[in-house]
Amino acid sequence: MSEAKSTSTIAAVHAKKFDLGELFLEGRAFLALVVIIAVFSFLSPNYFTLSNFLIMASHVAIYGLLAIGMLLVVLNGGIDLSVGSVLGLSGIVAGYLMKGIELKSFGIILFEPVWVVALLTCLAGAVLGGVNGVLIAYLRVPAFVATLGVMYVARGVALLITNGLTFNSLGGRPELGNTGFDWLGFNRILDVPIGVIVLAALAGLAGLLLSQTAFGRWLYASGGNMRAAELSGVPVKRVQIAVYALSGVCAAIAGLVLSSQLTSAGPTAGTTYELTAIAAVVVGGAALTGGRGTVRGTMLGAFVIGFLSDGLVIIGVSSYWQTVYRSCHRPRGIAQLNSIPRGKKIAAREGLTSFVCE
């Protein structure tokens, strides 16, 4: 009996340290962002300009959208490796729909308005994510394996649909009434790219979902201790499916934004983006074991990573070096976090952030 007491006091000490660490960590991510901006502004006169920040932000939007979905999954204690492929496939689905669906028996080609295309694309993302969720929740496939499978399937389907080619000029034609696909990627409201606004809106919604709804509480609870959550009446399986479906929707939105920015949809778009998204979530202070993490932190993480890689491009670091850099900080950081026991994680994450600082 007394042992239980002593372990609980130890746990208390740990909890305190952990909270402090968490605070410190989010501060570190913020600090890293400031340092990155300062260093690159010093290195390049073009970095610290409003137009550059807006361009970088619209790049971050893609990663950020993926990272929001990834955060939900990570809070649940899972991982979603399929988001990059789902992003790619969503672009293809949107492109395919924009090109018109040929109904041979009627001899007509159906052109849908852009909002229908967007809706159907999000639906496709939700279905793919839902497949992940069902595999994980009901068939008890480990998240890593299930989402890895879906990652390959989605990529394969994207290549099959396009035969490996890219859908070009998705601008639509006025006479068909399906123009406006480029609105997401090109338009600006008060100079802010629509993609960034979409990210901000989605981040706000996700923040509300996590902090104000019962679903959010269920998600934190089932990520923190699934058995306890289940015994407290939390519908853990439905929560699990929902987070993967939402992650799929986020990936689909990211796919829409990306293909709209490019007005083209390639089947290999978004390759390895899942790792960037995971890195953003982890740099933002979420625990891969589940139950801990915030939207704010994840957004910080996304901006740290996005501003850094764009900065490297701007100062003209060879793309090979960038790859070396990326391969260092993303998967290694993740591997570290996975293999290190809980108490040491903060140190590892601080190591990760300091690596980002360099």
């Binding site: 007394s2 923190g224 201790n225 015994l231 407290s232």
Partner: protein, 517 residues
């Protein structure tokens, strides 16, 4: 029996050499005294059995003797000289090994690899498998066991796995072997086998410290018995002086008071009726962990379920709460069959479970005290999609007061609470759902006596308000706290039912723990 006993049974003849001795050993964790000046001696080539209820301090003492934790007072003598073990490795190097209840074998490795795990025999920088295998074979021959060194541990029966653990201890030349509840998961034939090995070990002058809840079984091999109660040694005698009754008397003591059943009100109608409930075992083996069990509880009634480990208490409760599937029978909540309802729906209709293992099943460590308290009832204060914070805060404050949680407030980290207060959080969480029937699986496990008293008081208060309560315990003394009725479970069936006027001995006899007593 080489030891001679004197009439008092207090002093032990020195005929048996004492190899390991604890003198006035005490251990405190914060304000809790887990051990109070305990004396304990291990005799060469003998079995010293440690008896005591859960929380009596047995494990603490064993951890001290095996170097896992250090005592806060007193001294340890090894072969008459004072020693201080710095770690369990240190103790093992001096010939003291402990075999935990949960075996520490790598299931995926062979017997040979397990025995030499972490200290492989090397030859030219490579593992000398042939030598390891030869030594393993020799060990197994020594133990008269027909276990092939190359068999994977997962392919062995549990009893054989235990033998492998013993072989591993012997391979490091252990002279003193501590066995913590080695038989709790073994079948009768496996127990026989283990006892034969123990006899062989004794013949080889290996001293054994044995812990078991199965008193009768333990008596078969005991040479010396030590009884602990509430961290203090209450009795010490050699085999010739003791019988089951002696052990039970010393284990339980007479100073156990955790309140009395609430009275002065009328019990209501039957709130929960379990009819012919059957739960199959998990492994697919053809036996039922809960076997055609029927039980009904009225509103305002408190029923205690007593039974040994594996008697089916947890399975029965988890099945009623909806976590496990039954293979037969039905559960009626105020007359309505709950079949097909999810855990959440059962909670909403008034059936709540406080699980046995609060760390694993009860609490979400990443959330605050308040968030844990409101988790099960969060549906009730959702307004227009969003959680109403005012409602939540008032619920949390009410719960903290209702179940008397000592905390700085709802925002405190759950890990900052003591075990007893954590348990109250789990109970408070389920109470907040407004249950009609509350199931509590070992609510007193791992909490100190004061907290136990408070927990039972909560149950009594709940019953007065018309709550039907079922709680289980494996400490016989707790049957007499607040229960109106005591039901003894044995191998998934009800073996006896008592009113609060029965004796501990009768309950223990019905559970199969002490049949002869």
């Amino acid at each position: 029996m080489t030891a001679k006993q004197n009439s008092a049974g207090k002093e032990i003849d020195v005929a048996d050499l004492v190899v390991l001795e604890a003198r006035n050993v005490s251990k405190s964790f914060g304000n809790i005294h887990a051990l109070k000046a305990v004396n304990f001696a291990v005799h060469k080539g003998k079995v010293t059995t440690l008896f005591g209820e859960n929380g009596a301090g047995k494990s603490t003492l064993m951890k001290i003797l095996s170097g896992i934790i250090q005592p806060s007072g007193g001294e340890i003598l090894l072969d008459g000289a004072a020693v201080a073990f710095t770690s369990s490795t240190d103790a093992r190097n001096r010939g003291i090994s402990i075999i935990h209840q949960e075996l520490s074998l790598a299931q995926n490795l062979s017997v040979r690899d397990n025995i030499f795990m972490g200290r492989e025999i090397l030859k030219y920088g490579q593992v000398d498998f042939a030598e390891e295998e030869r030594q393993t074979r020799a060990l197994m021959t020594g133990l008269q066991q027909d276990i092939d060194p190359l068999t994977k541990v997962e392919d062995l029966r549990l009893g054989q796995q235990q033998i492998v653990e013993i072989a591993r201890s012997l391979s490091v030349n252990s002279r003193i072997l501590i066995m913590d509840e080695p038989t709790s998961a073994l079948s009768a034939t496996e127990v026989e086998l283990l006892f034969k090995v123990v006899e062989d070990l004794k013949a080889k002058d290996v001293s054994i410290v044995y812990i078991s809840h199965h008193l009768e079984e333990a008596l078969q091999i005991t040479d010396y018995a030590v009884v602990l109660r509430d961290g203090a040694m209450t009795a010490y005698a050699s085999r010739g002086d003791i019988d089951l009754e002696w052990i039970v008397r010393n284990m339980v003591g007479e100073n156990f008071d955790l309140g009395s059943p609430p009275s002065g009100y009328e019990m209501g109608k039957v709130a929960l009726a379990i009819e012919d409930l059957t739960v199959p075992s998990k492994g697919g083996v053809a036996f039922n962990v809960v076997d055609h069990l029927s039980l009904s509880v009225r509103a305002g009634e408190i029923v205690c379920i007593y039974g040994l480990m594996g008697a089916g208490r947890t399975e029965m409760m988890e099945c009623v709460a909806g976590r496990l599937k039954s293979s037969g029978g039905r559960v009626l909540l105020v007359g309505h069959d709950v079949a097909g309802l999810s855990i959440a729906e059962r909670i909403t209709s008034g059936l709540s479970l406080v699980p046995e293992d609060r760390q694993r099943d009860g609490l979400v460590q990443t959330m605050s005290v308040g968030q844990n308290l409101s988790l099960a009832s969060i549906r009730t204060f959702v307004k227009n999609l969003f959680v109403s914070h005012a409602d939540e805060v008032s619920l949390i404050d009410r719960s903290i007061k209702q179940v008397h949680i000592k905390t700085s407030g709802g925002k405190a980290a759950i890990g900052s609470l003591s075990g007893g207060n954590q348990q109250k959080v789990v109970i408070g969480k389920m109470m907040a759902t407004g249950p009609k029937v509350l199931l509590l699986d070992e609510p007193s496990r791992g909490i100190d006596v004061g907290a136990k008293g408070e927990v039972f008081k909560l149950l009594a208060e709940g019953a007065k308000r018309g709550l039907a309560v079922i709680y289980s315990t494996s400490e016989v003394g707790e049957c007499f706290s607040v229960a109106h009725r005591i039901v003894v479970l044995r191998r998934g069936r009800i073996s006896a039912e008592f009113t609060a006027n029965t004796t501990k001995e009768a309950i223990m006899a019905a559970s199969g723990e002490a049949m002869a007593a």
